[in-house]
């Protein structure tokens, strides 16, 4: 079954590419807008260096934003989630901030932080932060009270309570948040690069679109998509490894 599924997946993709190539060569679609896959591959070779530099730039900013989102999200989630009053007061605000489209404040962020890496990192961080924060807050709330009571009665300090009881208990939620967060961070960074970038893949793709360089644009899009899928798969793999290790 698995083999058959894999084979069918490969055949479907091949068939789609073949149909696309035929349609482009036969002139059924305008190559100005929909270039043939072969043209996209040639374009990929041509823009390779520039695109890889752009991708490295984007991924670097994403990495910084991601580390900030995870550290801030987990720390704030632990803190807010473990204090009942604070959690109940802040919860609707956090949910609202998570839900509203952050794009509305993007012009203001660019206005204040200017062009360059800072607005991209900031915007990527606020995108990645909220899903992690929401998940961690919920997880801390749902931690078994007995664990806390037992630790307390055995004389655990507050630090030990957070570090040895709460944090290990919420690891699955942190991992789930980390998996969600990385795509959000990359999204945020790409949006800023498209809106007001001077470097990075978002800027590169916008420039290709504005220049009607469809083959180059498709190649760049494929490259970013592949990178994103690879990152998510790697995180999934890591997740699985960790859950084996946790038992």
């Amino acid at each position: 079954m698995t083999l058959r599924v894999r084979a069918l997946q490969v055949v479907s993709i091949a068939a789609m590419l073949a149909a696309w190539e035929t349609a482009a060569r036969a002139g059924w679609v305008d190559p100005l807008f929909v270039p043939a896959p072969s043209a996209v591959v040639r374009a990929l070779a041509k823009i390779g260096g520039q695109a890889l530099a752009g991708l490295a730039d984007t991924l670097g900013k994403t990495a910084v934003a991601y580390v900030l989102s995870v550290v801030l999200g987990v720390a704030a989630g632990l803190f807010v989630g473990s204090m009942r009053l604070l959690r109940e007061v802040l919860n609707p605000f956090v949910i609202a901030l998570y839900g509203i489209p952050k794009i509305l404040v993007l012009p203001w962020i660019v206005l204040v932080l200017g062009f360059g890496a800072a607005p991209a990192i900031f915007y990527g961080t606020i995108h990645g932060l909220f899903p992690i924060l929401v998940l961690v807050m919920g997880a801390v709330r749902d931690v078994d009270r007995t664990l806390v009571t037992v630790a307390r009665s055995y004389g655990a300090t507050t630090w030990q309570l957070y570090w040895k009881v709460l944090l290990p208990a919420i690891v699955p939620s942190v991992l789930a948040g980390m998996r969600l967060g990385v795509v959000f961070c990359l999204l945020g960074v790409l949006v800023v690069e498209m809106f007001a970038g001077v470097r990075g893949m978002g800027y590169v793709m916008s420039a290709f679109a504005n220049g009607f360089q469809a083959p180059e644009l498709f190649a760049a899009t494929a490259l970013v998509s592949a990178a994103s899928i690879a990152i998510v798969l790697a995180l999934d793999h890591l997740n699985e490894k960790l859950s084996h290790w946790r038992g």
């Binding site: 509305l104 993007l106 899009t221």
Partner: protein, 247 residues
């Protein structure tokens, strides 16, 4: 008690914004006391006379994008969910695409559909399509197969099984997906408008930001927020109705 603390917090944030806004460079930040007059000018159609037309255009784009997303998402979800092999072949491919930050497709859509409404509708469609499809898939998996078997045994035809057994059993998941889809379609249209458009709310926001009319910018953002929150409130109303109906 918590409500009071929440209100106090909100008041504190507003007060802080007022103080900081007065101290800051007026091009960068404006206090709430400056936003209110700008909001009045906006609503009286003095600062932006084309506000109603822009709102209407954005709403029309959202309605079209969401309508298409629901139709295509339902069709695609049921096509993938009803046949086991098809689902196993194309389900993971769909999930992989979902792991890509959607904004990577936007430059291609802009190239393809131009700067007018069509590219925003296409992007809103794309964002709304995935949650609807995935909700249908998840919903179908939730249906108890025994119910279907029993209905069949009592002589129900495929249409009857679908309408009387499957849809009620999966309705709640489905409605949740439809609500997420609406929120994402709204975000898609607005992101598209801000990343590049000549008309619509996003264009007005960009115009105000580009001319450093920061008070007008904040007022426009507030009006857009009302639109977004309103659409979500409507969806949540429908969701609650449906929940009551299934219970």
């Amino acid at each position: 008690m918590t409500v009071l603390v929440r209100l106090a917090l909100l008041a504190a944030v507003l007060a802080l914004w007022e103080v900081a806004g007065r101290a800051a460079n007026p091009l960068m930040a404006v206090p709430p006391s400056a936003v209110l007059p700008a909001l009045r000018e906006l609503l009286l159609l003095r600062s932006y006379p084309d506000l109603p037309a822009s709102l209407l255009l954005t709403l029309r784009e959202i309605a079209l994008a969401y309508g298409l997303a629901v139709a295509a998402g339902l069709a695609c979800g049921f096509a993938l969910g009803m046949n086991r092999l098809v689902g196993r072949v194309y389900g993971p491919m769909l999930a992989a695409l979902y792991a890509v930050p959607a904004v990577v497709w936007y430059p291609s859509l802009m190239l393809f559909f131009g700067l007018d409404a069509a590219s925003k509708i296409a992007f809103g469609f794309l964002l709304g399509f995935f949650p609807v499809t995935l909700a249908v898939l998840a919903g179908i998996r939730q249906v108890n197969p025994q119910l279907v078997t029993v209905a069949r045994a009592y002589g129900a035809g495929p249409v009857r099984v679908f309408a009387s057994v499957m849809v009620p059993a999966m309705l709640f998941t489905l409605i949740g997906g439809l609500r997420t889809g609406l929120a994402l379609s709204v975000i898609g249209v607005i992101v598209g408008e801000i990343l590049g458009s000549k008309r619509g709310m996003g264009a007005l926001i960009n115009h105000a930001y580009g001319l450093l009319r920061t008070a007008d910018y904040v007022a426009l953002v507030l009006v857009t927020l009302v639109l977004i929150v309103g659409s979500d409130a409507l969806a949540s109303l429908v969701e609650r109705r449906a929940k009551r109906w299934t219970d």
